[in-house]
Symmetry: C2
Subunit: 764 residues, 2 copies
């Protein structure tokens, strides 16, 4: 009680910046963070977990040029690069922070003057419908984006609801104003990516259609409905692909003008207007995974009127509501910006994937109805099982439970009978490794957020997934206890991650009293030992005869049995048996020094280049924060006698790897995983092994934080004596009792109360 009063006094006297509901938490969100270099975030408008991400694309790089991979593609995973000076248009679907991509559906661009049906060349905005812009005329907020398109002096504003984008273009006076709808445009556009597109002009202000692609998602189709606030006077299409067969459509003569139906592989449409000075033309643009009828219905139910400001305000209010689930105070506005932008990024995906009536397309390509849950898609699980889902399991348990239900539906519909690996838009894209859905499922079960028959069914789905022999070396793993490098590359990474996932399954089985599964998978979780080579002190690839590969360089990634991380980073991936790992690596002291070496070493450029996904800023010594495999590593000091080093490293990473600037992310945000790391670490704890129910203590960066839990309870965190130099924690007091352990439990958090970190500038 005393503590509480004291805290109130502290709050009142504090010079810290208080984030509060009054101005709304959205004021601390800067969607431009991560848009420069490798963050791969997008600056446009979306609502929490929204299906629509309506955002400017600054270029469209083909995936291949002359049949070869175009490395520039990678920079445009989210369509926008901060250093670009032109906007091609506004498309409706974007991943946030991914390191491979897809989407960019339905690019819309307003223009005036002679109609241009090509985007034009980069650097020459007059060569097409693209336009120059400058950041001086750009505003990006949670749920709202505005920019002046300099070429034609058009003010573009966009906002969104869950399933619809809302455009508002303020035109100059013109007899020749256009809105281009580009169905060719896309992100990661292969030569042949568009499988089919279809457009139907329903009347002089309504257009529907779909785009079907073959890319990261092999069989993907997105439907749209588009409504204009003002009838277009004329309209037309252009087909940019050769059509083998035009058939009897030729009887209509020229169908490129005012003909209400068009289908083909490479279509662009235009809608023409006369505009008065400062006239606003608005467009509602809804998506559906089911049909154009579904899109029309989504559009009508989510944006019934033409009140752009209302939709914008609603979007912002929605963000304020979600962001407010954690109310923090911090030392600087930048810290708040980093925190709430991380929250914003963490709440972008998975995205809602169903019509307002609950219907969605399943991975079996059939239409299903989500009964009793909200269906989600965009599961970047190799990334997000680490911290994002554990975070959602705390602060968004209903959503996280529905995400698990979405994964279970996926498993039921899956031809391979597997939980998702990396899934989006009714497709499994199989990206990266492991079967980390099992961890998300297990975390929900182990923490009691998924219970009863449903939990048992989810466990069965996880077991089924983990026994899918033909999946990525799993047959060998099950037979030999490891993935042999001669049979399947990146074999060590796979072995380590399978072992962790198996342990997670065991935890869920334990919780549910399914002892046979528990025993079987606990045994499997020890498989990490099979790839540890004590002679070198690293995990190391073995061949199928059981021999370690002779050639081995722990600094290198490529060809060394790892993926997106070298042995220095990846060898530490035994989150479920850190004690065992430390023992095998020579004990606590040696291990602590090993970690020190990682954080202080120099990673030569030649090896760094292979780690992918990160900029030079994304590493500290040899520790690679810009990619996921080592995200738990700073917390491993907690298992040594040097826990202060966890505290120091975490604060260093928070300081160095996250900045309140467009280049503020040192690597891909990866659908919120990088941001979830920030949120946990800034609060003072981190789930090293999800489904353990344990959150290892670090060093909070906030001054205070109030977690408003769905169960009505609140957990108040206070970093007493917080300061730039006070990165060490002298003691932790939970509800008035000093904590004798180095972790919180899920129950500690869920029960609410008060958690005080006593901060100091001296480590023990």
């Amino acid at each position: 009680m005393r503590i509480f009063l004291c805290a109130v006094v502290l709050f009142a006297l504090s010079s810290s910046v208080v984030a509060q509901a009054k101005g709304g938490y959205s004021q601390y969100v800067n969607p431009l963070i991560g848009t420069r270099r490798m963050g791969h975030t997008y600056p446009g408008a979306t609502v929490p977990f929204g299906s629509v991400q309506l955002s400017p694309d600054t270029d469209e790089q083909p995936h291949n040029i002359g049949g070869k991979y175009n490395p520039e593609t990678y920079r445009y995973c989210a369509g926008y690069q901060y250093d670009d000076t032109e906007i091609v248009g506004f498309s409706h679907t974007h991943f946030s922070g991914t390191g491979h991509s897809d989407l960019g559906d339905f690019l819309v661009m307003p223009t005036v003057g002679p109609l241009q049906m090509e985007p034009g060349k980069k650097g020459d905005p007059k060569s097409g419908f693209r336009s120059a812009f400058s950041h001086a005329n750009e505003t990006a907020e949670a749920g709202y984006y505005k920019v002046r398109l300099d070429d034609d002096n058009i003010l573009a504003e966009v906002t969104a609801t869950t399933r619809a984008g809302f455009h508002q273009y303020t035109f100059p006076a013109s007899d020749d104003a256009h809105i281009v709808l580009d169905l060719m445009h896309g992100i990661y556009n292969y030569d042949d990516k568009n499988v089919w597109t279809y457009v139907r002009v329903v009347n002089d202000h309504t257009v529907v259609g779909f785009r079907q692609t073959n890319g990261w998602a092999r069989t993907r189709i997105v439907y749209f409905a588009m409504e204009f606030s003002k009838p277009f006077s004329t309209y037309g299409f252009k087909e940019f692909a050769k059509q083998d067969y035009k058939g009897f459509w030729r009887k209509f003569g020229d169908q490129s003008k005012n003909f209400p139906e068009m289908a083909g592989k490479q279509l662009r449409a235009h809608f023409d207007f006369k505009t008065a000075a400062s006239e606003k033309i608005k467009i509602k643009f809804a998506l559906s995974p089911v049909s154009t009828d579904g899109a029309v219905s989504n559009l009508r139910s989510e944006i019934p009127n033409w009140d752009f400001e209302k939709v914008r305000n609603d979007a912002r209010a929605g963000w304020d509501r979600e962001l407010g689930k954690i109310a923090v105070t911090a030392d600087s506005r930048d810290d708040l910006t980093n925190f709430y932008t991380a929250m914003y990024h963490a709440f972008l995906s998975p995205t809602v994937y169903m019509d307002t009536d609950g219907r969605y397309k399943g991975v079996d390509q059939n239409i299903h109805t989500a009964k009793g849950f909200t269906n989600y898609t965009t599961f970047s699980l190799w990334d997000t099982y680490r911290a994002l889902h554990p975070l959602l399991n705390i602060i968004q348990p209903t959503r996280n439970r529905d995400m698990v239900r979405s994964m279970m539906a996926h498993q039921e519909q899956s031809p391979e009978h597997m939980l998702p690996v990396w899934s989006h838009y009714a497709n499994e894209n199989w990206c990266m490794i492991g079967y980390h859905s099992t961890s998300v499922v297990a975390d929900a079960i182990a923490t009691g957020n998924l219970t009863g028959p449903e939990a048992n069914k989810a466990l069965d789905a996880a077991v089924q997934t983990a026994k899918t022999g033909y999946y990525d070396g799993l047959e060998y793993y099950m037979k030999l206890g490891y993935v042999p490098e001669d049979k399947n590359s990146s074999s060590v990474s796979k072995t380590l991650e399978y072992a962790y996932d198996d342990w997670a399954i065991a935890q869920a089985a334990k919780k549910l009293g399914r002892n046979a599964i528990y025993t079987e998978f606990l045994k499997r979780s020890e498989n990490w030992k099979n790839v540890y080579d004590p002679t070198v002190g690293f995990m190391r690839p073995k061949d199928s005869s059981g021999k370690f590969l002779a050639k081995f360089d722990p600094l290198k990634t490529e060809g060394q049995g790892f993926i997106e991380g070298n042995a220095w980073n990846y060898s530490l991936y035994v989150p479920h048996d850190v004690d065992g790992m430390i023992a095998s690596m020579g004990g606590r002291g040696t291990f602590s020094q090993h970690l020190d070496q990682l954080f202080s070493m120099h990673l030569p450029d030649e090896f760094f280049a292979e780690t992918e996904d990160i900029t030079r800023d994304g590493i500290i010594g040899g520790y690679i924060h810009g990619n996921e495999p080592a995200h738990h590593v700073a917390y491993l000091y907690d298992w040594t006698s040097d826990r202060w080093k966890t505290q120091e490293r975490v604060r260093m990473i928070l300081d160095h790897q996250y900045k309140a600037a467009p280049d503020g992310l040192g690597g891909n945000d990866d659908c919120g995983q990088m941001s979830a790391w920030y949120i946990f670490s800034a609060l003072g704890f981190y789930p090293v092994a999800p489904s353990s129910g344990r959150y290892m203590l670090g060093s909070p960066a906030v001054k205070t934080a109030v977690l408003k839990l769905e169960n009505g309870k609140t957990l108040t965190i206070e970093a007493r004596g917080q300061g730039q130099k006070n990165v060490y924690v002298s003691k932790v007091i939970l509800n008035g009792q000093e904590l004798s352990r180095d972790f919180l439990t899920y129950s500690d958090i869920a029960s609410g109360g008060r958690l005080v970190f006593q901060m100091t500038d001296k480590h023990l």
Copy 2:
């Protein structure tokens, strides 16, 4: 009453062949009729108006070779040519008698021995999975087809329900038996016709998927579910198209074997078995316009068991029931074969296009539910408005009404807001000319088969259709009163047919008391006069300045303002104002001589070749029966004082143009139009102007016929004194009263009763 008794005596004494229910009418059906040369019928298994037409394809000709049209394509409109000696496999969808094509979905072929995944080359059956066969080992019946596949000594049998095919393959003993599923195969296959295909192996005996094409139908997708009676031991796929992007699927390594999911543009799958001698492997194969789930559901509800004979018997019983709607006696078995095969062909399409739950894909590409009607597709209306729909309007009024309802749904869903022109599988293909749905609609309204608000709505849809300015010269037609050849080719054909269609709309408007529409469209129906050139006595193309084109040859078709018929044939197309036409052509006598000249002239080969769709057998003099534009012409003598010539010509056409042999059709059957001509004419009357409610009298070819009407009434037709030479009708007695008019009314037929033709060998 006396007449009736007399007739009974006559029947008993007659030597005529009596078609009766006892053996079943199906015994007179020979599905091979029309499979040689230009009939374009298929011999396989289907049920009346069934969605599935499971039939052998004897070759697969690509539409283009080296980028150029391959004229051989045309011969394979129905997949089967009688003179071929090999079968490539059995595919599930076929048009009957069309002169352009599509479909051929999901080819299935059983083989033994080393797996062959290519069909192989024509003439070399060992080069692929195709097999030699001979007609000696072939049986084609209504609802059943059997053939021995000689290469591997496999007996293939197929039958069908409305939405499912049922295969039964009797194998030799083999350790290496296969069933190939070819998703590349198709009819009228353009290089790029397959847009996407998808296959999912659900378990060891169930496979689902879809094929999406861009061809005659621009955006077509057909879903399937396939169930084997015996689990396959192994299975695999092959993708024959280059795939730009394989993505992370590579982690599965070789997916060509026992991997449950495949998608791409050019797929073939195989399923492998060990078979004992004479072991039967059966396959149920259902289609759906909605989804693979829909196909599974159709499969389960239509073929719940593995009883092939039951399904075969049910199919035949279904045919017996439908064929029995007209019970005829005739002089020869061939006449019965011709009659009932014509009935069979007339009852093949339009085809049911919805799942058992009533759901179907609309032309707007959305899924709709047919409420209160059966939804149909495959509307070859330029052909079938003439006689097929009028026939159905008499003998299948419920189906014909539902076909009208299907057209109305199409119009509601149509981006162009038009009733169908030529539609199939949720697509409008726009083939041929006119807007003849309006005639089908008007016929149903004018005869009282469509009434009330629904009739008014249908009339509105017809008017909307007829006022679609951008449709095929219609804007000019509405402005100038004719289609000008310099603006739109085949302008005379279009003008004439629009004029007739307009008259049909007027008849419906009259029936419904919609006087403004009646007046407007009756006026439009006079537009035929605008293309009649009295100086040459033919219809003749005009340019937009109102001048007839100088160059004109009434024997030629190409470039003369006509399509699929020259001026000699097409100029007679004023079915709704024959008196007016005769008057303008110089009166009855002159007109009769004009017709004589047509039937006796010689059409030089060079001009004949241009008329398309027919063999030399398809013409009589210059009269072209093998194509539709002149189908009413033999009946035009009814308007002269030489009605006997109608009688003579009709009997001559019945004799010469229809034979009980594979080459029995002189031209494309055109979805039953050629056959419907036969049925009407064999019964003694023909609808020269549908929606007039009049059926012009000819000369019956049957001895007796009993039409069993849906209203419970029967019309008994008796050709008293019928014989080979007795082709003339001395009098017609309806219900005991001699008929003083040269036509029957719809009411005469629908009221039932007795119609006696007194036949004689001398004309008046």
